[in-house]
């Protein structure tokens, strides 16, 4: 997030797009609701009538995968109505004129023809957001899990740059990070393109610094992504893999492919808490200590660095992951793995990361710092982009994006849009919530179908159906539910016995290689069972 969570109570206009916040980030959503109580207005764009939509002043029910069209239409209106923040644009951005020229072709009527939102509502949304003193954008995986995820994000940035709704209290472009420490995994350099602290591996200066610190030459060449790695494994071009705390087989966008890839490896080591489906394929499974048994650090979605602490002793012989990895490395003769405590590991990270330079174990314990903390004594940075942007020129760059269809579109054979997501009481593949009594709320997977479609497609509420796509089929129960619009159905991927990932994963964003989990054409038929 560019802005801290506390800012969520301060916008004048909230624009929430592709985020089912009351279910996926519930406590953040309470802050938005409080902003509404004190007079803020909210625009919600989502294909489904999610709970947040019920609280919105303006709800934009767009067709799945058409965010770019909606956002181009809004940009067009902001320009046409003379609501562009000229002062900000001149002082802080680049390629503005070319961008404005570009959006002049994308009328709200054009946008309506693609995304299905009435042109008049697109206009209203644009006017509300642009006229606000403080407008803030919030988004989640509904924006990124598309083949055009980067274009979607860029389109949101364009809106913020046009209006100057960035770098101030109650504004910003605010992606809500999904998992507790997914931000931290990136901060720590578990990325093929970045060293710790988001320092590009291709920059020779960084490569040199890390090679020296790590006592071994590290190539200044980007690694491959997880998606490519699984591909290579499936083709017999990768031989060994270490998977930590991820039930890849169930969470991967393409289950059959993933299964084939993992089975093809010579050597698979899994570090986990449970004997997951993925662990079953491993040569060696190593038991890690769980949350509650482990001392360490998390970074949350607002870049706040915080300590987690052990409250109970480890189960059985479980060990902290950093210790396990260090033991393997030492046995391979790799230098630099003599840590005695998590504090030593974290302090080493701080010493090598520009954004953590001013942090240490003790400071993380105060929970008072948002990175970047570039040097000791620095108070941290709750709000990004107050003075400049992280580009070569320091200016925010407009990018001319265009609309593209999803990887697969509905056809006669697969006439229904399936979109996937999460539910309040479950988390990912339920390795945690499935062992914590949450089945009281959601005991099994269901396909949410609009009541009229239930009737039209010959289904029955509570009865079984088969959902087929170009790659496979799964069966689950039907739930008549008017959150789904007609022609679009919804389910989560939390239940291993309903492996929705045999359907999804036809396309990936070309830049981030994030899978298109939000759009998948399917056919839905009743089955007797």
């Amino acid at each position: 997030m560019s802005n801290p969570l506390a800012d969520m109570e301060k916008p004048e206009v909230i624009f929430a797009i592709g985020t089912n916040m009351t279910e996926c980030h519930p406590v953040a959503a309470t802050r938005l609701k409080r902003a509404l109580r004190s007079g803020a207005k909210m625009i919600v764009a989502d294909p489904r009538r999610i709970p947040l939509a019920e609280a919105a002043d303006l709800y934009l029910p767009l067709r799945v995968g058409t965010d770019v069209a909606l956002l181009l239409g809004m940009a067009h209106v902001i320009d046409r109505e003379g609501l562009v923040n000229r002062e900000f644009m001149e002082a802080r951005t680049e390629e503005a004129e070319a961008f404005l020229e570009h959006v002049r072709q994308f009328t709200p009527e054009w946008a309506q023809s693609i995304c299905g939102v009435p042109a008049a509502d697109i206009e209203r949304a644009a006017l509300m957001y642009a006229r606000a003193e403080r407008g803030a954008i919030y988004y989640t995986l509904g924006i990124t899990e598309h083949i055009c995820g980067v274009d979607n994000v860029q389109s949101l940035c364009n809106l913020a740059l046009m209006t100057g709704h960035i770098g101030r209290e109650g504004t910003g472009i605010n992606p809500m990070r999904g998992q507790n420490n997914i931000q931290g995994a990136g901060d720590c350099g578990a990325l093929p393109n970045n060293f710790p602290g988001f320092q590009p591996v291709t920059d020779p200066a960084h490569a040199k610094r890390f090679s020296e610190a790590y006592g071994r030459e590290i190539e200044a060449v980007k690694g491959i992504t997880k998606v490519q790695a699984l591909d290579r494994a499936a083709h017999g071009e990768l031989w060994a893999m270490l998977i930590c705390g991820e039930n890849t087989l169930v969470s991967d966008p393409d289950r059959d492919h993933c299964d084939k890839a993992l089975r093809a490896l010579d050597h698979l080591v899994v570090i986990d808490l449970f004997r997951t489906e993925t662990a079953e394929l491993a040569d060696v499974v190593l038991p890690a200590t769980a949350w509650g048994e482990t001392d360490g650090v998390f970074t949350n979605t607002e870049r706040r660095v915080q300590r987690v602490r052990a409250a109970v002793p480890p189960m059985g012989q479980a060990k902290p992951e950093w210790w396990i990895v260090a033991q393997i490395a030492k046995r391979m003769g790799s230098p630099g793995f003599d840590w005695q405590s998590p504090q030593e590991v974290f302090d080493e990270l701080c010493s090598l990361s520009g954004i953590y330079k001013g942090l240490d174990w003790e400071k993380a314990g105060t929970a008072a710092y948002h990175w970047p903390v570039p040097e000791p004594g620095h108070p941290g940075t709750p709000r990004l982009h107050e003075h400049d942007f992280p580009t070569a020129s320091g200016r925010g760059k407009f990018v001319r994006v265009g609309f593209r269809d999803p990887a697969e579109v509905v056809s006669e054979r697969f006439p229904v849009w399936l979109t996937t997501g999460r539910r309040l009481q479950h988390y990912h593949t339920r390795t945690m919530t499935g062992r914590a009594g949450m089945h009281y709320f959601v005991p099994e997977e269901v396909l949410e179908v609009h009541p009229d479609d239930v009737a039209a497609w010959g289904l029955q509420d509570g009865q079984w159906c088969r959902v087929s796509g170009s790659k496979g089929a799964v069966e689950m129960k039907v739930q008549a539910n008017d959150r789904s619009p007609r022609g679009t159905v919804f389910c989560s991927f939390s239940f291993g016995d309903v492996p929705v990932n045999v359907l999804t994963g036809a396309g990936y964003d070309p830049i981030t290689e994030t899978a298109e989990l939000k759009v998948c054409p399917v056919r839905v038929e009743a089955v007797a069972r």
Binding site: M176, A282, R307, A311, G333, L424, Y440
Partner: protein, 367 residues
């Protein structure tokens, strides 16, 4: 003794009142209760929760203001310049005791286990402080408990309810859910949910905020209470929720080696005392029976078998070394977790970069 606190600007200098003989400055909009808290004078409260709008329901927080005939509720009275306030005069203390006796006369005497919730001891502590030990008076009853609502998370022992409305208010003001409501008035007041039904059929999301703000334990954390009989003391350990990226601060409650419950940290910077159903109630996986407790190694029979750490680590390292020797730096890959702490991700990326000199590392953010 007279203490002068912050009085730098001329405006600030004018905002001064006298409380229990001390001159105190205050800022515009502050209540007498907030001022008293800064002075650490222990004004008792029951319907007060500093995250909620002042309510003025229980009147336990009364103080005397010179020139006013009757004591005023300090939690709803704005501080004004020149006020002379007494927070612990005999008169207010007597007044408070009478009020407390009245409140308690509706409740059956019962031991309220602290596992019930964050604020569950408030009434109990006040009873002790004012020596109010009385039993429930004949014919008086505060509310009807709902043992029929057998959800495994929230107990509804309205027998202990004092109608402070904190649960109603936290649900409306903090959560925006409006699941809890009030039926009847006066002695017949009953806290309830839609259609008098069960929580799961209402707008309730089971965030547990009502449980944590209830000052009597009438609303209680059923999951934590499973450990009521364990003899060890309750230990609280500050940590961060393991679920989503909001990063709510929690206190892990343990008894001995057992994790028994979760409580929201009221001063947590990301959550300000709030949690959702996952952070509040979904913790038992940590000590679940089917946790992996020993390393496993695949045997010649193709099955996974328990092994010692030495065996397993040797085997893991040998496989990675073999891949390195036979296939060079691009034959091995690692995927770090987005749930484990930094030290895990950092160690794994270093493992790849040092052992192979490559950047063949990713985390699970690409889904």
């Amino acid at each position: 003794m007279t203490t002068h606190t912050t009085a730098s600007t001329p405006e600030a200098r004018e905002l001064v009142l006298t409380m229990d003989g001390q001159e105190v400055s205050f800022s515009v909009g502050e209540t007498l209760y907030q001022v008293s808290q800064r002075l650490r004078t222990e004004v008792p409260t029951l319907c007060y929760d500093d995250r909620l709008d002042p309510f003025g329901g229980c009147r336990l927080c009364v103080v005397e203001v010179e020139g006013q005939r009757n004591p005023v509720a300090s939690c709803t009275t704005q501080a004004l310049p020149g006020m002379v306030v007494h927070t612990r005069s005999e008169r207010v203390e007597r007044h408070r005791k009478t009020l407390l006796e009245l409140v308690v006369s509706e409740n059956p005497e019962a031991r309220i286990d602290p596992l019930r919730g964050h604020a569950s001891q408030e009434l109990h502590h006040l009873r002790e402080r004012y020596g109010v030990t009385g039993e429930r008076m004949q014919g008086r009853k505060s509310g009807h408990s709902r043992p029929d609502d057998d959800n495994p998370f929230i107990a509804r022992d309205y027998d202990q309810c004092i109608s402070c409305y904190r649960c109603v208010r936290v649900c409306a003001e903090r959560e925006g859910d409006y699941a809890i409501s009030v039926k009847g008035r006066g002695f017949a007041t009953q806290i309830t949910v839609e259609f008098d039904g069960h929580l799961r059929d209402s707008a309730c999301t089971f965030c547990g905020q009502c449980v944590q703000t209830c000052p009597t334990g009438a609303l209680a954390d059923r999951k934590a209470l499973r450990a009521e009989a364990r003899p060890e003391p309750i230990v609280a350990t500050r940590s961060i929720c393991p679920y989503c990226g909001v990063g709510c601060s929690v206190d892990l409650l343990s008894k001995g080696d057992r994790l028994v419950g979760i409580r929201p940290a009221m001063d947590g910077p990301a959550n300000l005392g709030a949690l959702c159903v996952k952070g509040q109630f979904a913790f038992d996986w940590v000590q679940s029976e089917d946790r992996l407790t020993t390393p496993l190694v695949r045997g010649k029979d193709g099955q996974l078998h328990p092994a010692t750490w030495d065996e397993a680590l040797d085997r893991a390292a040998a496989g990675f070394a073999k891949a390195r020797d036979e296939h060079g730096q691009h034959g091995t890959y690692a995927i770090a977790s987005g749930r484990a702490p930094h030290e895990s991700a950092y160690a794994i990326q270093k493992f790849i970069r040092v052992s192979y000199g490559s950047n063949y590392i990713d985390n699970c953010s690409r889904a």
